[in-house]
């Protein structure tokens, strides 16, 4: 199912993940790849007939949270519908089930006990036991699924952290025992911000029959610097693993771009990010150039208002009369058909079409970033790519702050 094709210096690697979608169509996805986050199996705003306009096959792997369906659909009905592929009519797509989604279904460590994991969901706080969870999984028949985890924030006590590892490993055993479908099992790895616990958890999980690892408990209070050793602690063993790394993205893109690059540098293959959703809701569009290694140009001027050099806020009044597409030369549906002025207007009048167009563009753009990373790994230039990225960011931030200061001094004069 998963084969590594190229290694760069260090742990960064590129591979191919082969999965079988609904009605047995084969999908081959190159890693490192992005899992598109969805609400109930469909992207938040992109309707299924617009999905094919996204780059293929990069966009053909979707992440969903089984807990979303607790709002309306029983596992029995799901099973009657014939699983998620059948129910959504997306046969050429792969689905990865992850208990939490980082948007509306969040882990709640205080509510979790030895019986099950607690989540804040749109239908209230729920305690999910492994039995219930497996019932959902077997009715939905996802291609990959992560086991139930007790995710704890970075600041919990050592004892609670230890407990969470023990529980997670126990639930892993239960889930594997209860699993009846052919989906690939991804063992959850937790351990908060303790390298030892992380390592212990990873070793325990590696003993089981799992096809991959899901790194849980990130983005819950640990710092960026702490993260590298934590990641390295769990990715040091094994060579043929797929790993989902939920990057918590409530922050600036710089951090996120670094996070993705950091994850890839540690050997993470699949990324499950809510970044696109957050951008779309905020009215932002990604504009950063991701093929800068190839072009080697840094002619970007600090002119974009209402954003940094990576994204623009289309709500800003400067785009009121801007009849250019979001990114010149972008081949996404939004850039091919609509202008910044129109999206600005749609945002002003709170029309949902704005979010549809923004999500299409941002997904398209972000997938392009991943494509550039894969290219760099294949050419053995990943470290260069990463350095360049960081360098450019620093340069831009510096230039922006200079411009800001210049503007300030001007107003003072």
């Amino acid at each position: 199912m998963f084969t590594v094709k190229a290694w760069s210096k260090g742990r960064a690697r590129s591979g191919i993940l082969q999965i079988v979608g609904g009605s047995s169509c084969e999908i081959a996805i190159e890693t490192p790849a992005l899992l598109l986050s969805t609400r109930k199996g469909l992207p938040a705003f992109i309707s299924p007939d617009l999905l094919p306009s996204l780059p293929s096959p990069d966009s053909h792997i979707l992440q969903f949270s089984p807990l979303h369906f607790l709002e309306g659909l029983t596992p029995e009905t799901m099973a009657n519908c014939g699983g998620l592929h059948q129910m959504l009519g997306l046969h050429e797509y792969g689905f990865a089930a992850v208990p939490r989604d980082s948007i509306v279904c969040l882990p709640e460590c205080n509510g979790t006990n030895k019986i099950g994991a607690s989540f804040e969901t749109p239908c209230g706080r729920l305690l999910i036991k492994s039995l219930e969870y497996m019932k959902m999984i077997s009715s939905m028949k996802p291609n990959l699924w992560a086991t139930l985890a007790d995710e704890v924030p970075a600041w919990v006590s050592i004892k609670r952290n230890k407990n969470s590892v023990d529980r997670t490993v126990r639930w892993l055993d239960e889930c594997i025992a209860l699993s009846s479908t052919g989906g690939a099992v991804f063992g959850a790895i937790v351990g908060g911000s303790s390298v030892e616990e992380r390592r212990r958890c990873a070793q325990e999980v590696a003993k089981r029959n799992v096809s991959g690892y899901w790194l849980g408990g990130f983005g819950l209070g640990e710092s960026m610097d702490e993260r590298s050793p934590l990641l390295n602690a769990v990715t040091c063993m094994g060579s043929d693993l797929r790993i989902i790394y939920p990057s918590k993205s409530r922050g600036r893109f710089v951090a996120l771009g670094f996070q993705v690059l950091q994850g890839i540098a540690s050997g993470v293959d699949l990324f499950d990010s809510t970044y696109i959703y957050d951008l779309t809701i905020g009215g932002f569009a990604l504009i950063f150039p991701f093929d800068q290694i190839e072009r080697n140009v840094s002619d970007s001027q600090p002119s974009a208002i209402g954003g940094d050099q990576t994204k623009i806020n289309l709500k800003a009044t400067v785009y009121r009369k801007d009849i250019s597409p979001i990114v010149d030369g972008c081949s996404c549906y939004a850039c091919q058909n609509h202008t910044k002025a129109y999206i600005n207007h749609l945002l002003n009048v709170h029309e949902m079409l704005a979010q549809i167009l923004l999500e299409i563009h941002n997904t398209h753009h972000y997938l392009g970033f991943f494509r550039a990373i894969r290219q760099a790994i294949k050419e053995g230039k990943f470290e260069q790519f990463r350095q360049q990225f960081i360098e450019n960011r620093r340069h831009q931030i510096f230039a922006a702050s200079l411009a800001h200061q210049a503007g300030k001094s001007c107003t003072l004069c």
């Binding site: 058909n337 029309e351 549809i356």
Partner: protein
């Protein structure tokens, strides 16, 4: 000088001044002459005169369409008209040879009737941006959900009392959950209240094309507030702004002033309203409305009318009607792009047949490219509504499109089409979708209902749309009113349903099957056969032999069908009211 001569030359043919108003089709003339109402010679002459006049109108050098094609639209469709056509063409070329100036305004619209069945007609409407097939439904996107809401209780709905609250209330509207019947009533009262802000809620323009939308309706009021008509003009018009290749229609903005805003005051000058931006009083005059619409650049623009609720009685309705007639002249005067945009006049006059007739005659005298029947769907009962439509369609010219404003229930569209109307607009399909209701042939399907949670059938098994092909009721049930995708998918389905309905109407009129049993079975699974027969009677008997009117019961039934989980369209009460409709020639004192 030449044009004066020509008018004089035509004059002998014209027995009275009403040459535009009495633009009867030859069918009607023939039938009238058979029954001895008119002298056939006179009517033929009058008809020739009218045709000649139209010939002259199309002689505009700036007009993009060739003369022959335009004339063909009004004349050559009928075999009896062919000799007239030749005669008229000869006259036309003669006048062209002496190079007369164009007589009056020229149309960039061609309405070609392809088929008829009794009063129903199927036509091809050629607009600058698109060739449309009528009857057609125009979707209306809705304005910001946060800016207004309607709070109605079931009890109030029974009495048709509706409070429209303006205010920054947040969507979704919790109190509406148990009053969905009421909501549909509110839709009915305020069908046109919400407007496109240059988009249909949650659908991309490519999806709209895929569904088969031919014309989209935009609200002048909303577009003029944001992003402002000047900006749209600067960016190359609304078509370019929203990247919509097909036709567009903008309304005058008057209805929103009245329905959405407090303290709207209508005077002879225009509509004074409180600006939602800064609260200052603002004035929208007919001239300004047309200027704004000229800047927006839609294919069809509407004249500013004085809108009153049909439930109001008394002299106010008369005042509004006469004011609408006075304003239409100001609108025509102010219209700067008659070669690119078609100005439609709006027939007002409440439920009073006499007032309606005066208004129709007044508008027909102005010889506009098309006519709209306005002031309806404001809470009046079905009997009066259909009666007004029947009266107006009977006296409006045959060769011009007729647009019934704010009509959106499938049943109403079928009935109005049977009565000879061509165009409809309503927010109902998209709005009801946001409340979780799907339109299906059997009626409506409330997807919020618990029974849908384990229903693995598609919304409508006979529907061929993307949603019905892929999704089950159960899946849509868990999306609606919770996720954005729910309203996107349901809007898609509902619009597809409306487009399919218009297409079916078009083709069944052409094939002469309208209304036939099949369409009926398709439209209404009525509980008793008598109701089916009854409806059939209503539509089958050509007017004015007698219009039997089916009336809706006061509220919709809240019972589930035993076969499926559908709510029926309002069940029809089989009370036949022989509405005496002397619509073709009403007696006017």
């Amino acid at each position: 000088m030449a044009s004066a001569n020509l008018t004089l030359a035509l004059y002998p043919f014209i027995s009275d001044s009403d040459i535009f108003g009495d633009n009867l089709g030859l069918d009607e003339i023939t039938s009238a002459s058979q029954s001895g109402h008119m002298a056939p010679r006179l009517t033929r002459r009058r008809h020739l005169a009218t045709c000649c006049f139209q010939m002259i109108q199309v002689q505009n050098p700036t007009n993009p369409l060739p003369v022959k094609e335009r004339v063909a639209g009004t004349l050559s469709t009928h075999p009896i008209r062919a000799p007239l056509f030749v005669a008229a063409a000869a006259l036309c070329f003669f006048t062209a040879a002496i190079s007369i100036s164009p007589v009056i305004c020229v149309f960039c619209l061609l309405h070609q009737i392809l088929g008829r069945f009794n009063r129903a007609r199927a036509a091809q409407l050629t607009l600058p941006h698109f060739v449309c097939q009528t009857p057609l439904f125009m979707p209306v996107g809705t304005q910001v959900p946060g800016c207004k809401c309607c709070i109605v209780t079931v009890a109030e709905a029974f009495q048709n009392i509706v409070n429209v609250c303006n205010g920054p209330l947040r969507y979704p509207l919790r109190p509406l959950r148990n009053t969905e019947t009421a909501v549909t009533r509110v839709n009915f009262l305020h069908t046109a209240e919400a407007g496109v802000t240059g988009t249909i809620k949650g659908l991309t323009t490519s999806q709209l094309e895929e569904i088969g939308c031919q014309i989209i309706l935009g609200n002048t009021y909303h577009l003029a507030l944001r992003p402002t008509s000047e900006l749209i003009d600067e960016l190359g018009g609304l078509h370019k702004f929203m990247n919509w290749p097909r036709a567009l229609l903008t309304d005058s903005g008057g209805f929103q002033m009245v329905s959405l805003l407090h303290l709207a005051d209508i005077t002879e000058k225009g509509v004074t309203f409180q600006s939602p931006v800064d609260g200052k009083p603002m004035l929208l005059t007919p001239e300004e409305s047309i200027q704004i619409q000229n800047r927006i650049g839609a294919d069809i623009i509407m004249a500013l009318d004085d809108v009153v609720r049909t439930t109001i009685t008394g002299p106010r309705i008369e005042e509004a009607m006469y004011r609408t007639l006075r304003w239409i002249d100001r609108c025509i005067e102010a219209h700067k792009r008659p070669n690119e945009q078609n100005l439609f006049g709006i027939v007002q006059g409440g439920l009073d047949p006499v007032l309606r007739d005066i208004c129709v005659r007044g508008l027909v005298d102005r010889n506009l490219p098309g006519y709209a029947i306005g002031g309806l769907s404001g809470g009046e009962d079905k009997d009066s509504f259909w009666r007004v439509v029947a009266q107006c369609t009977a006296s409006l010219p045959e060769d011009k499109p007729r647009y019934v404003m704010g009509v959106g229930y499938p049943l109403d569209i079928v009935v109005c089409s049977a009565l000879g109307a061509d165009m409809y607009d309503c927010v109902y399909p998209t709005r009801t979708a946001r409340f979780g209701t799907a339109l299906i042939p059997e009626g409506v399907l409330k997807l919020k209902h618990r029974a849908m949670a384990d229903d693995t059938r598609p919304i409508d098994p006979t529907c061929m749309c993307m949603v019905c092909k892929n999704y089950t009721r159960a899946y849509i049930h868990c999306l609606v009113t919770k996720d954005a995708m729910g309203s996107q998918l349901l809007s898609y389905h509902n619009l597809y349903y409306m487009m399919k309905l218009s297409n079916d109407l078009h083709s069944s009129i052409i094939e002469g099957q309208f209304p036939d049993g099949e369409l009926y079975a398709y439209m209404y699974p009525l509980q008793s056969i008598s109701e089916v027969i009854f409806i059939w009677l209503t539509l089958h008997f050509p007017l004015p032999a007698g219009l039997y009117v089916a009336s809706y019961r006061k509220c919709s039934q809240r019972v589930m069908f035993p076969s499926g989980s559908a709510m029926p369209w309002r069940s029809l009460e089989s009370i036949s009211l022989p509405a005496v409709l002397n619509s073709q020639h009403p007696n006017i004192e």
